[in-house]
Symmetry: C2
């Protein structure tokens, strides 16, 4: 049995020895180097570009400007394609842009024999701009002079969506309701994956091959095809190991430009690798979303009616666009319930800032910060126990979303809360820290969350897998789903071993995706892979096992129904008598002169289900008021993600998410000057927490068995990042009685708030 075991990662040795091959490792020796010229204004037009001096730089092969690119607008979001034009992503990009929409927009590219030549040439390109005043805030007033970022959106609003369950207006008329209204702001942050966006492209047999660090090779194939105006079949995308993605690489970033530049260099191999600085402001960010919350509660703590308005700062281009804030308001109804009505409005607004895209949690960390801060405030103001108040109103097993049909098939939230509460010694510490004075104070805080699994029914959910028998009875597992550091290769291998009846050393996973040969899968996002792609492993493995037993039936002259496969051995189904090793059978299957078969199996599953994961974070902090600094003393995330395929990997996944949550809660913030120029696009100034900033991270799990998951499992990838920031904010509230409704809780903001409250 392999499911549920903390087996070592299948790629552990490669990765700790530094031998694992990432995109740049695979780039041919003689690749040309491309570098992008970015705009130095945030809003306006490129009127003219003079490349004459740049072209004189020795080693420059070609310069392509925004005046040279084809007019094929394309989208970039890593969403499955839709044959319904209304559900297709907004195609608002060109490969290079005359209309500049943010500081750093792509306006030209140099191809040269090496990086030095390319960089020198970039410096010598003369650009003449027409400059417009930058629009940096979603509430920037429109004037008659305002030029919209995109012609199709004259008021700069990309989209507005809303929902209403019950009659909100009527629900507000209930007598005796106590009303709570608040405003919350979240900041723009960046994913900060170790490996910057990197790709290289070359032509082969009149097709364009792109090797890229991406979460979504099959989607990338489609988007490059759109951007270059070529059929899907003439694009091939290869995905090696990648050094992190966190949603940034669920977008197609510079790969279409890279592919185009290759075609402009006669099909030679061209590499385009972003610097860290470019990765910061020229890829994607987590959307800064502002929330207004209004909740009507009875004095006993029963929520009667709720409203949320969410406004998302999209930045310059659509990318995942409105899907993020739309997911946030959907998540708003997937955690607490109310007696009468809930209503929400979501807006996504273009500004002259870097483009918001997908990032671990997809709008839910923002929403949860607002919602869980709000819930804490209500409880305290009503004099209720904050946990009891939550438990009274929280979603229950069997909940079914009235719009999407998403159903809560398994439910371990209450136990998650109980475990966290015990771990942090909640009840005692709440009392201990009740009335503190002095410059150093402590507090405990908590937050809960829910998260769905995959994207059904909002989008297509499909996955395919292939299994290939080797002559020694081991198998190759070929997935369309991608390993992006999360351990997918390992858990898929465990699933295949379990279902076929192999020991894990008999499963070799093919980590690299290649759209020419890899079974189709949309990729790593939405915490979908163990759930959706895991189902593809299970069904393909079942089919593969049937084929093995069919061949064994031929060879052993026994009905297949009398056979089983256990631990690499064909046994009698009833007696478990060993009949033949799989190794011996495999040799026959390959080389039998009477009847040979190369046994493989391939299958697509279409997932038409979804389920909800839960969890809670409990944190204990110490606040130094004069230094305006929070120290995390202890913190735990407790997750209900159904059955864990590999508990140790699940723990590592939670550690990573908590670390991301700590940075989100305490320090990370992309800053811009009044002209929209980024102020801290580097790891020195941005304040990503290092290992020295990170406390010990405690984790625990409540293993429910989700009946809709292939192995009882449900989402785990994104959830860990969600509840940390509000738990810290609520701990700060307990410690200081200061409710801070914005992120991050960094010294700059804390000092301001402490000063205003007279604490310092």
């Amino acid at each position: 049995m392999s499911i549920g075991e903390s087996v070592k990662r299948v790629d552990a040795y490669e990765k700790v020895t530094g031998r694992a091959k990432y995109t740049d490792d695979l780039c041919p020796k003689n690749a040309l180097i491309a570098k992008v010229l970015h705009s130095t204004i945030a809003n306006g037009w490129v009127k003219q570009m003079d490349c004459s001096e740049a072209l004189k730089v020795p080693g420059v092969i070609k310069i392509v400007t925004c005046f040279d690119v084809p007019n094929y607008p394309f989208p970039t979001a890593g969403h499955p394609w839709s044959t319904d034009p209304k559900h297709q992503d907004v195609a608002d990009r060109l490969l290079l842009n005359q209309r500049v929409r943010y500081y750093g927009d792509d306006i030209a590219a140099v191809i040269a024999v090496d990086e030095v030549a390319a960089s020198r040439a970039l410096e010598k390109i003369q650009v003449t701009y027409e400059i417009l005043p930058p629009i940096l805030h979603t509430d920037a007033p429109l004037t008659t002079d305002t030029v919209p970022l995109h012609e199709a959106y004259p008021d700069n609003i990309l989209a507005h969506s809303d929902f209403e369950i019950g009659n909100y207006e009527e629900s507000c008329t209930e007598e005796g309701l106590i009303w709570f209204e608040d405003h919350f702001d979240t900041q723009m942050v960046q994913h900060c994956h170790i490996e910057p966006a990197t790709s290289f492209a070359y032509e082969e047999n009149h097709r364009v091959i792109v090797v890229s660090s991406t979460q979504i090779p099959h989607i990338m194939r489609r988007i490059i095809s759109q951007a270059l105006g070529l059929p899907f079949g003439e694009i091939r995308v290869i995905k090696p190991y990648i050094g992190g993605g966190f949603g940034n690489k669920q977008d197609v970033l510079y790969e279409p430009l890279n592919a185009f530049l290759c075609t402009q260099a006669g099909g030679k191999c061209v590499k385009l690798e972003l610097s860290r600085e470019e990765t910061f402001h020229c890829t994607r960010t987590r959307h800064a979303i502002s929330f207004k919350l209004k909740t009507g509660v009875r004095p006993d703590g029963q929520i009667v009616t709720r409203y949320m308005e969410a406004c998302s700062n999209q930045g310059a281009y659509t990318s995942h666009g409105h899907a993020i804030v739309s997911n946030a308001i959907t998540g708003f109804r997937h955690i607490y319930q109310q007696e009468k009505a809930v209503k929400a409005d979501a807006y996504t607004v273009f500004t002259n800032l870097p483009c918001g895209g997908a990032m671990r949690g997809y709008g839910i960390p923002q929403m949860t910060f607002a919602c869980e801060s709000h819930m804490q405030d209500i409880a305290l103001k009503l004099g209720l126990d904050p946990i009891a108040f939550r438990l009274k109103n929280v979603l229950q097993l069997g909940y079914k979303d009235p719009f999407l049909g998403i159903t809560c098939h398994s439910y371990g939230l209450q136990e998650c809360i109980a475990k966290g509460r015990t771990y942090i010694d909640w009840d005692k510490k709440c009392k201990t820290y009740a009335n503190q004075t002095g410059p150093i104070r402590r507090g405990v805080g908590m937050a809960i969350f829910s998260y769905k699994t995959g994207v059904y029914p909002i989008s297509l959910e499909t996955a395919s897998a292939r299994l290939i028998l080797n002559q020694d009875g081991s198998v190759q597992l070929q997935m369309g789903a991608t390993e992006i550091g999360q351990g997918a290769d390992t858990v898929f291998s465990q699933m295949a071993a379990e279902t076929i009846g192999l020991t894990l050393d008999h499963v070799h996973i093919i980590s690299q995706q290649d759209t020419d040969i890899t079974p189709f899968d949309t990729g790593a996002y939405a915490s979908r892979q163990t759930y959706v792609s895991g189902m593809a492993v299970k069904e393909t493995a079942t089919l593969f096992k049937e084929k093995l037993l069919d061949y064994a039936s031929y060879f052993l002259k026994l009905p297949a129904a009398n056979l089983d496969l256990i631990e690499n051995t064909i046994v009698h189904q009833a007696t478990k008598e060993v009949l033949i090793t799989l190794e011996a059978l495999a040799l026959e299957a390959f080389y039998n002169l009477d009847y040979c078969q190369h046994i493989t199996a391939e299958k697509t599953v279409q997932c038409k289900n979804n389920t909800i994961s839960f969890g809670a974070c409990f944190a204990e902090i110490e606040v130094d008021l004069p230094l305006a600094k929070i120290k995390v003393l202890d913190i735990i995330n407790v997750h209900d993600s159904g059955i864990l395929i590999n508990p140790q990997l699940a723990t590592a996944q939670v550690h990573g998410g908590m670390s991301m949550g700590l940075g989100y809660g305490l320090s990370e913030h992309m800053l811009f000057d009044a002209k929209g120029k980024p102020l801290n696009p580097n790891l020195l100034d941005y304040k990503l927490p290092t290992s020295m900033d990170t406390p010990d991270l405690a984790t625990d799990f409540v293993e429910t068995i989700d009946p809709s998951g292939p192995y009882g499992n449900k989402s785990l990838g994104e959830p860990p990042a969600i509840p940390v920031a509000p738990a810290l904010r609520n701990a700060l509230l307990q410690a200081t009685s200061i409710a801070i409704n914005q992120l991050p809780l960094n010294p700059h903001i804390l000092f301001e708030k402490f000063q205003a409250a007279g604490l310092v």
Copy 2:
């Protein structure tokens, strides 16, 4: 319709632009370099090796000697594996050898950071040998002092096999038979592919990956597994484009050593590329085979009884060993028939020379030189027309081999002869050149041949293919069979297009084989691929089309039986009304929210059939007696290879084979001194014909329809190289009346013979 069209090679653009990626192009930038130390004696032992000075060379990583390698004997021949130990190839190799068996044997290897360091280190290794006298000829007398090359073969005879049809002894007693007895010698030649043997190897996830220029990636996986003592599944072999193989790369050459050296360098990437000199004498050669022929004929030209004794000089190691000369005597009974009996003996003898292996024609060029020279001599001596004599005795349609069951399913030989005869103006020129004098003389000559298709029933014949739908309605065709320059990728693409109902631009072939993911196929040899692997394409394409029509049936709500696929479009089967393009259907298959499927198909075929191809060569030459030089004035090969999938590629195949035949007939010869040291292991001294030496090559075809071939086709890859040498020899005979029974017909040999005959 694509079959039978001379479409452009699918890899033409890549190859003529120099952009196609071969093994070395794919080698990582930072690969270590390995070089092999070869013995400088032909027979004996390495007693001692001192690497201390070599290890001091800066940049040397490791030196592995013949005292360090594991004791896993392995074979090297590119034969399918057999689960029957008796049919397995002789495992007589180690990775490096203390027992030195030829000048150039592998005794140590250096791994260094670059080629210079590796080469310098090689020079500094001190070797102490115990020297034995070299055995260079198959008839070298054994003495009590003789140490056999391999302990298992004390008399140095690897194998002897024979057959007898009818009662040979009795047949010899017929009264009035005229007897002809002759001896023929063929020489050792080398394949001289453009790309030398090249590979690189690295470890990944505890597996060894070998990228190699090979014809047989799946077989190579098995042999490396044997040589390293690792399970099949822990070896992965990748085959990029290759610059020629001709059978030399149907052997596993230095890949096992390369794989081992990688494991000795901590799994780092190690490249092992042979020089041209090493390729000459350290890879494989065409066996020098000597023949004795004895034929009993009635005065009317009816052959009554025949005998052949063939003795093959194996060189130092087994490789394909006895299979070659065994094939030669089998071919002996597959071309002419006799009234009463035929008998043959074949011997394979080890000598201290480079190792004979597979080379285009696999023993048949040697046998055909002997047989067709002999037939010519008989006809002339009997005063018969040589063509009429051949036609009287030649194999006929429906012939079935009594041992192997190989059957002649289609037969165009007579028409081939007729076409060649007309082309060369045979009858007229025979008369014109009948009685010449003077120093410059002309002559015409001809020879015929037959050749089987694939290796059934001698060995396993199996092939698999996979087809993968792209979103634009194009497909990827993934073959286990290999493109080795012969055009396999193109003809497989044509087959898939034909059978599915696509235009050729809708088929993208995956040229690279990767044993982890590629459907199983034994590889490119025995002229088997269009016949055996072509059947896999046909059956897989049929299955794939069924799946497409099934999906169309779902989408169009029409029975699949009412649908057909013609030119990338789903049409009504009866009316041919266009219903939907495959592109639109493919998008639905990928993205339909109700029912999506990634449509692929994969299938193995096992071929239990064989058939015989035929052909004839007619040549006109001019002989300069004082210069002892032959000039080819005109030459044609006419082939019956069944239906031609791509006539232009077939023509190119014939051109290549004829060019090889010209070199074999006129100039190529590997020479050794008395100690077994090679004298001409380079392209300057070896005398491979260049384009300047090559006359215009005429070709023609007789397109029979072979009922056993997937598209009416049968073998074509090897046959063109077979009949050229005897046709030239017979033309020389006509021009000069000098019968030369050895090859090559180079000035050195001609001068000797002309002088002996008093012509010069």
